[in-house]
């Protein structure tokens, strides 16, 4: 995960409290989405950024997950996400992010 984005997530967690934060990912494939999910829950697995060793345990979902989809206006979702839902390996991405969330998320 980009080092600047790690810093932004860390700052937001300090300012708003981790339990009040929700991270929504838009990654295009499973492995990269999983790594980002891991970074905001268990800390930076690459040991490079500000979240190294910082276990924020944030709630993290991918935009494709049914819980997120249900919360968004159907027409807006179709307009913004419908195309990529067909193009990307949705099931693999969901499985990866869900697995990380269930393992490391504290909230």
């Amino acid at each position: 995960m980009d080092l600047e984005n790690q810093a932004r997530v860390k700052d937001a967690a300090e300012k708003y409290k981790p339990e009040k934060l929700l991270v929504i990912l838009g990654g295009a494939e499973a492995e990269a989405s999983g790594l980002t999910a891991e970074t905001v829950t268990n800390g930076d697995p690459a040991y490079a950024g500000p979240l190294t060793g910082v276990q924020l345990g944030l709630k993290v979902y991918h935009i494709f997950e049914p819980e997120v989809k249900a919360a968004i206006d159907e027409q807006v979702y179709e307009q913004q996400i419908g195309m990529m839902e067909m193009v990307l390996d949705k099931e693999a991405i969901i499985a990866e992010v869900k697995g990380i969330r269930e393992k490391y998320s504290k909230f």
């Binding site: 295009a28 494939e29 492995e31 990269a32 179709e78 307009q79 913004q80 996400i81 419908g82 195309m83 990529m84 067909m86 193009v87």
Partner: protein
């Protein structure tokens, strides 16, 4: 309505493994941060030879020796399946060796910054002349070359950058100013390489189209480099610098920048200038990017691949007034990513593909081939960036599903039928849709295609000035006019109409009078 036409193309590659090692950004940064790294130690053993680069199937497609559709039939990986009858000369352009490239950089140098070892320089002069792209007159002003001792002295005392061929020191490039960072030896080399490779492509374009340099009115350069000094870092002008060394004495020109979408913007501007009647013949040219050589090298080595990003790309395209024969650029069916379009992939593709077609009363299935970013997937997949053209085709197909033009189950089939395999080197602006113009022109002339869409896309966030995306697209179609035929809205019709109206006016005056 008469449109501008694509009169001809040139696409060239320049093998540059030594520049990859010394000047590619990935390698430069690694030397700064970690000079003893394993990557740097393994680098040289994993470079490709010139014959290997020539026989690489995607490179053969780039210069026109294979159709992209033929590449799509070849099993991957491609790097370990050399093309049997590969030639460095194709119908669109050449694959040039690094030896000649060093001579070409010297040729492009107007300020005596490039110093070549004297025997090497003499040898290269002959070899460049033998290519047919240059004549001995091109080198008549060259002074004698330098000794290796002189070159060593510049390297030690004048912040020069070395120039190697097959790991042997053959010369150097000196800085152009003692304190100005944008005129240091590294930046000068990057800019001179963009200029030099652009010159070769432009000269080859003139040969391909049997056009004299004197016939060109305007040049637009569309690479990703910036030339200037510390008071105007991107002042320009590559276009005139390139035109000067290709004999375009009657042309003027300027540069257009928009990351990877610049060539598509430049083509539209060229088509507009021609259609407006301001110029008759406009060249769009773009040279190669030294910084991107070996950009994903670390990932390539990790996956057991050779350093496949070892070529610089260059293109030159000739846009001219309607000749009644060549395919037309439909400047009335242009897609653009508007500032307010939004940045989701769906918003981008809707703006670039759906909106212009819909406006023209066309469907997505009506376009035979889409040419978006055509990066070679063998270079991008190992680095985690996926197969870029394939992702684009799936997005276009998904839009066709959403628009109920095809069934969901036909998504991949549509992507295959209307798509192309990626075959361009990862040189930023080089893969941006325009590599296909040569095949598109021939396919439209032969009736193989009826409609081709060129799509340029650019990542503007890299300059940290805006988070906006960029993209522009246009259609190319066969020229419907018979040679010599007068078009309904052409000059002949207008003259006839004017004469008729004058006659009517005279008659009316007569009646009244």
């Amino acid at each position: 309505m008469a449109f501008a036409v694509i009169k001809g193309v040139a696409y060239c590659l320049f093998h540059a493994p030594d520049l990859l090692v010394t000047m590619g950004t990935t390698q430069r940064l690694e030397r700064l941060k970690n000079p003893a790294s394993e990557y740097l130690q393994q680098l040289k053993a994993n470079l490709r030879s010139y014959p290997e680069a020539v026989s690489y199937a995607p490179n053969q497609v780039f210069i026109g020796n294979l159709w992209p559709e033929e590449l799509a039939e070849m099993d991957r990986p491609w790097y370990n399946k050399p093309v049997a009858d590969a030639s460095p000369r194709g119908r669109f352009g050449d694959i040039v060796s690094e030896e000649l490239l060093l001579g070409l950089i010297k040729f492009a140098d107007s300020f005596e910054l490039v110093c070549l070892e004297k025997d090497f320089q003499e040898e290269i002069k002959q070899k460049l002349t033998a290519t047919g792209i240059f004549t001995s007159a091109d080198f008549q002003d060259w002074k004698e070359g330098h000794t290796l001792a002189e070159i060593g002295h510049y390297l030690e005392t004048a912040a020069a950058e070395p120039l190697y061929y097959q790991e042997q020191l053959k010369g150097c490039i000196r800085r152009a100013h003692d304190v100005d960072e944008v005129l240091n030896a590294q930046v000068m080399l990057e800019n001179l390489v963009a200029k030099a490779t652009g010159i070769w492509a432009l000269r080859r374009l003139l040969q391909n189209t049997k056009t004299a340099g004197t016939e060109i009115d305007y040049v637009i350069e569309a690479s990703e480099e910036a030339c200037g000094d510390m008071n105007q870092r991107g002042g320009g002008n590559f276009a005139k610098a390139i035109g000067e060394l290709a004999g375009l004495v009657n042309a003027t020109g300027a540069d257009i920048r928009s990351f990877c979408s610049a060539p598509a913007h430049a083509l539209l501007v060229a088509a507009a200038l021609v259609k407006a009647g301001i110029y008759r013949q406009v060249v769009v040219v773009g040279g190669g990017s030294v910084a991107k050589l070996g950009m994903n090298g670390r990932d390539h080595l990790k996956k057991g691949l050779p350093l496949l990003e070892d070529v610089l790309g260059a293109f030159a395209l000739l846009v001219s007034a309607d000749d009644g024969r060549n395919p037309v650029i439909r400047t009335d069916i242009v897609g653009r990513h508007r500032i307010g379009s939004g940045a989701t992939p769906q918003a981008v593709m809707e703006a670039l593909v759906v909106e212009p077609l819909q406006r023209a009363g066309l469907k997505l299935v009506d376009v035979d081939r889409y040419a978006p970013e055509l990066q070679n997937p063998e270079l991008t997949e190992p680095a985690g960036a996926g197969n870029v053209p394939w992702a684009n085709y799936k997005m276009i197909a998904a839009l066709a599903v959403l628009r109920k033009e095809i069934e969901r189950t036909e998504l991949e089939g549509f992507a295959r039928r209307h798509g192309l395999p990626g075959y361009a080197p990862t040189q930023g602006h080089i893969p941006s849709g325009v590599p296909f113009l040569g095949f598109a022109r021939e396919g439209l002339l032969e009736g193989k295609y009826q409609r081709v869409m060129i799509i340029g896309k650019g990542s503007l966030f890299l300059a940290r000035l805006t988070k906006l995306f960029d993209g522009i697209s246009f259609l190319i179609e066969p020229n419907k006019a018979e040679p010599g035929q007068e078009r309904p809205d052409g000059g002949g019709f207008r003259t006839a109409m004017a004469a008729a109206l004058r006659r009517v006016a005279r008659e009316l005056q007569g009646e009244e009078g």
